[in-house]
Symmetry: C2
Subunit: 361 residues, 2 copies
């Protein structure tokens, strides 16, 4: 016996067949006499035997590994705190079930190449992290029959993939509504990256809610961003030089809100005294900022956990029905949004709107 001990070595030492060893080591010891079990266990232990998981995977046609795939767009983890949290949730679900994770970060946009890399027999299924519009990951159905679930993007039905994500529309509607209830009427918005579904969903919810309250959406206050802090700075530059300003700006994510805040500091514009800001996502750092940010929180860990659960279900049952799970965002009120009455009533003096469904006094 040279190199690592194998089943054969253990069998030889225990004086039995490899089947016996295999069975016993897989927990089917009830089939055997006690002393045999004992023998085998001891032999295995003495040799320091460890089952080779590659051979096992080949024989079982199951790898007990799932892939976590980052979109080539944001393949650097560092810039993707989201993936971080989700990964934790995935790990939490997988660990006790003895599944492992393979991290896959395609660097190309060629779907064939990407899927060749993902679906090469080394995983039983994959979690796609926030695929964006036009992502090779979404060509899934043409290139692979692997069970798949997407997180961080609420995909249109036609992609046929299960997804787990925050309910962007409801959450943004909640935030907008809350801001309005704080008395704000003049509201600006920084849009997210146009390739992200979430950006459109958040914007749509904003517009819809404004309409619901009969508030005008002023296009010169709708700034294009791309979810990066820098784009938040640019949005601030563009907005703050205008003669008329909104009393509050909603950013489609925290990073842009941060950038906005940063530029306000540069210009010595007090937040929230002169202008209010809210974000979306509740990124780790925003709580520790100079001006703690009012934002939407959601349990990203749970997103990962659910994704892993869903994926394992698909793998084990073969059930391929795409299913959509949206989890609730929750409004976290911190200190970046001030009451808007004074300013607001000056701008838009309508009495209306809050009648809908609410109890009247």
């Amino acid at each position: 016996m040279r190199g690592k001990p194998t089943l054969r070595d253990v069998a030889a030492r225990a004086g039995c067949s490899i089947t016996t060893v295999s069975n016993i080591l897989q927990g089917r010891s009830h089939l055997y006499r006690e002393d045999m079990v004992e023998q085998v266990l001891r032999a295995g232990h003495e040799l320091g035997y460890r089952p080779n998981s590659v051979a096992r995977s080949l024989a079982r046609r199951r790898t007990a590994t799932i892939g976590v795939v980052l979109d080539p767009q944001h393949a650097r983890l560092t810039h993707n705190l989201y993936a971080h949290d989700v990964l934790d949730g995935i790990l939490a679900f997988l660990e006790p079930r003895d599944y492992d994770i393979r991290l896959i970060t395609p660097r190309t946009n060629d779907p064939a190449a990407v899927w060749r890399r993902i679906d090469n027999g080394s995983i039983d299924g994959a979690v796609l992290i926030a695929p964006v519009m036009g992502s090779p990951l979404l060509e899934w159905r043409c290139y692979s029959r692997l069970p798949v679930v997407a997180v961080g993007s609420t995909l249109p039905d036609e992609y046929g993939v299960s997804c787990i994500d925050i309910d962007n529309e409801t959450a943004m509607a909640t935030l907008t509504e809350w801001v309005i209830q704080q008395g704000h009427r003049a509201i600006g918005f920084i849009k997210g990256h146009p390739l992200h579904w979430s950006a459109h969903q958040r914007e749509r919810a904003f517009r819809r809610t404004m309409a619901l309250y009969n508030l005008p959406v002023r296009e010169e206050w709708m700034l294009q961003g791309d979810y990066s802090p820098e784009s938040g700075v640019r949005a601030a530059e563009q907005l703050l030089r205008q003669s008329e300003l909104p009393t509050v700006v909603l950013a489609a994510n925290d990073d842009m809100a941060m950038g906005f805040l940063q530029h306000c500091r540069t210009l010595e514009i007090a937040v929230p005294d002169r202008i209010s800001v809210a974000g979306f996502d509740d990124s780790v750092w925003v709580q520790r900022m100079g001006i703690p940010l009012t934002t939407i929180h959601h349990d990203r860990y749970q997103v990962g956990y659910l994704a892993a659960q869903r994926l394992l279900h698909q793998i084990e049952t073969g059930d391929a029905h795409p299913q959509r799970t949206l989890i609730n965002g929750v409004l976290v009120v911190r200190q970046s949004v001030a009451m808007g009455y004074a300013l607001a009533s000056a701008t838009t003096p309508q009495p209306t709107y809050s009648t809908e469904g609410g109890s009247r006094s």
Copy 2:
């Protein structure tokens, strides 16, 4: 042919042996006639053949996968931004070499169990992320013969493992020295987690540098922290209630510096006007803080890159010489440290210690 096409299927279709297909698909086409090559390639393409990497690994006794192992102590990625950056570097090196990453997060402290999970034939080597004192990961030599390199912990030689890390001592000495050169004489320190080698290395460098400049280290200003923001808050509570205060506090990492800053805000103590703070690590968020933090930066991406490089070298050459690589930290001066002259003389009117090297007025 049922299920995914295999070598056999391709061979059948191309009318040749599987050896031929295998060879050609591995790029040894020069051995064959052009039309044969052509045949095979076409057959493979038509069938959508993709080599099964599990079978390949078994046959080659090489998995082309490396493990990235988190210490059970900090198994939640979320709380480990460090791992993030390093992972990116590792990925960057591995991707073009067609290596994959398996993420391993042991949840137990039993070294046998931990290493059974790590070294089960599914990886060719492992990167250990910041193993702490007493970590099961460090029992490596007893349980595995896998090539291994550690990052984020500068381990003592006796562990016999290669490591790549920032040069903690030099960097902290640099920071301390700089602070002294800013005119500070009364300097406090928040220590890191006692199980981390880095904590001791940073503290040692601080003390050594103070000694070098003949400055006293006042033990009541040496606060015990654990690298968490909360411990920074606690340190602040403990320090700021003292009657005599240092003019500057060095925290052994940014998180604690943040906590400290946060408590200063609570107490309305202006930073850096009334007290200066410096950190260590240059975490992503500190640049965007209310008071941008002066800190030590190092290229964590490069740490990961080098680690992967070293590991692959070990795997490919079998060279198991433990080697230590320390990379330089660089001082990043932001706005959390003020010049120390005025304050120092104001708060602590002793004539003493500030003589050394400082210019008198």
